[in-house]
């Protein structure tokens, strides 16, 4: 097994990238990786691949890695492999050299996690840090300790089809810059987040997307086959906001931590003040999480309750518009 520091993290891609950077000698935190890469986002989607609408809270999978590469000048070697066998051979080759490898996998096949927590999602990232007999040793930031996965299962997880298909994708950090311009990186990350939250001209993205979500949730009963189904989908709002690797409050706590760290690093009181507001905003998103869990369990899902939920979500849109507008102004002066 490669000497690799395993620890849990809030989110798989930012956690895996942070672990790779730390291993390569760059001392950086997960909030900083997340913030610099412009990770925070909102989008409400009705996709052809899904039977029910959903919402996303971060930018497109893969963008955290590419943004970090660009803004921190990190050298990352990436590989896509045509066949499952070639993908496993490429992985083994690097492991034999003592190099930990981040691989993209379908989350469903991470069998060390309980079955109820696993769903098909092709953009999960884990670090493979060794091999022990027929098993691979996995550093998964969603699992408290180093996990094991047999070769057959890992091969399947890396070669599934579907949205964001992994196609045997793997990467590892090959070099880090000793002197990184953190101020420019922080500024670029904040500007990107503010653009996507405030200025994307699509009704289902950004602040407009949050309002759109609030509007749409009141019509969810029409999409459900019965009360159990509606209860499940309403309670999934909690799962997406809190349990599917966000660090709590729909990534808002993680982003608040980034703003706080950035403010301290740059000696910028405005960023520190905005961090406090973002943390409070995360608390209000968590109140939405607790609300949907309760009404879902109690089957209190009539029009009055869903209207109340809509208002809570719209209030988040109102508050975040104000926060991101002032954050955008602050970023211009960095």
């Amino acid at each position: 097994m490669i000497a690799f520091t395993h620890k849990m993290a809030a989110h798989c891609e930012s956690g895996a990238v942070t672990a790779q950077l730390n291993h390569a000698g760059l001392a950086i935190s997960e909030p900083m990786v997340f913030g610099i890469s412009g990770g925070l986002f909102f989008g409400y989607f009705k996709l052809p691949t899904l039977d029910f609408p959903t919402f996303v809270l971060r930018n497109q999978p893969g963008k955290i890695r590419t943004a970090v590469q660009k803004r921190l000048g990190v050298q990352i070697s990436c590989q896509k492999n045509r066949t499952p066998d070639k993908a496993m051979a490429a992985l083994d080759s690097l492991l034999d050299q003592g190099i930990p490898v981040a691989v993209q996998v379908d989350f469903f096949y991470m069998q060390y996690l309980p079955a109820y927590a696993r769903a098909h999602f092709n953009a999960h990232f884990v670090n493979v840090i060794g091999k022990d007999g027929a098993d691979y040793l996995i550093s998964d930031v969603y699992y408290p300790k180093i996990a094991r996965l047999d070769e057959r299962t890992l091969k399947i997880a890396r070669s599934v089809k579907g949205p964001f298909a992994p196609a045997g994708f793997q990467f590892h950090v090959t070099g880090v810059k000793p002197d990184v311009d953190m101020q420019s990186a922080i500024k670029a990350g904040i500007k990107q987040t503010c653009f996507y939250m405030l200025r994307v001209p699509l009704p289902f993205m950004g602040i407009r997307g949050i309002r759109y979500f609030g509007d749409k949730v009141t019509s969810w009963p029409k999409l459900c086959r019965n009360t159990d189904h509606l209860s499940h989908e309403i309670m999934m709002i909690h799962v997406i906001l809190e349990d599917r690797g966000t660090g709590g409050g729909g990534f808002r706590y993680l982003y608040a931590s980034f703003l706080k760290e950035a403010g301290t690093l740059l000696g910028n009181k405005s960023l520190e003040a905005l961090a406090k507001e973002m943390m409070a905003n995360g608390d209000e998103w968590r109140q939405i999480s607790l609300f949907v869990a309760r009404i879902g369990k109690e089957r209190d899902l009539g029009p009055v309750r869903l209207q109340e939920l809509k208002c809570m979500i719209h209030q988040r849109a109102h508050v975040e518009k104000d926060i991101f507008e002032r954050l955008s102004e602050t970023a211009k002066k960095l």
Binding site: A119, G162, G247, Y253, R286
Partner: protein, 161 residues
């Protein structure tokens, strides 16, 4: 969120970012609030859905593909994409008539998506008693598995075969 508000006792662990007592922000490992308080409700709903789908399966209204699709909670479009067929073909194969015309090779692809041995597409195993466990063992032939049914000793928490 303050650190003291984040503590949840649950076997399902995750990371939350919180405000610590010294007013810095940082990660804390804690349990999942949803799992601690609502996992029983999730399982109850799933069990009711499984009962409904099983009745439809027994009545010949749906095929095993429709049964497992809903249990695994995968969308129609996603499932079709993963096994490499059109949605129209998938919908046909989710009917008993369509299922009977599906090749073994394609059924193996479905089984991989559902995370079950392909044999389970032809057999639904229900545990009538609590404490029974089924362990499936792969063989050199990917489509053939060996299923072992065991009784868990509740007192000693040991597996007795």
């Amino acid at each position: 969120m303050k650190e003291e508000d984040s503590k949840v006792e649950s076997s399902h662990q995750l990371i939350l970012y919180i405000e610590k007592d010294d007013q810095t922000y940082g990660p804390v490992q804690t349990g999942s609030y949803m799992v601690k308080n609502y996992l029983d409700d999730f399982f109850a709903k799933k069990a009711r859905l499984q009962t409904i789908r099983l009745e439809e399966l027994k009545a010949g209204k749906i095929s095993p593909l429709a049964y497992y699709k809903d249990l695994v909670e995968i969308g129609e479009g996603d499932l079709a994409c993963r096994v490499g067929i059109s949605r129209r073909k998938l919908r046909f194969q989710m009917t008993p008539k369509g299922f009977s015309r599906t090749s073994v090779a394609l059924l193996e692809r479905y089984a991989t998506v559902f995370g079950i041995p392909v044999a389970q597409l032809f057999q639904v195993i229900l545990c009538e008693e609590e404490g029974l466990a089924i362990h499936n063992e792969q063989t050199a032939l990917p489509s053939v598995i060996i299923s072992r049914i065991s009784v868990r000793d509740r007192q000693a928490s040991e597996l007795r075969t």
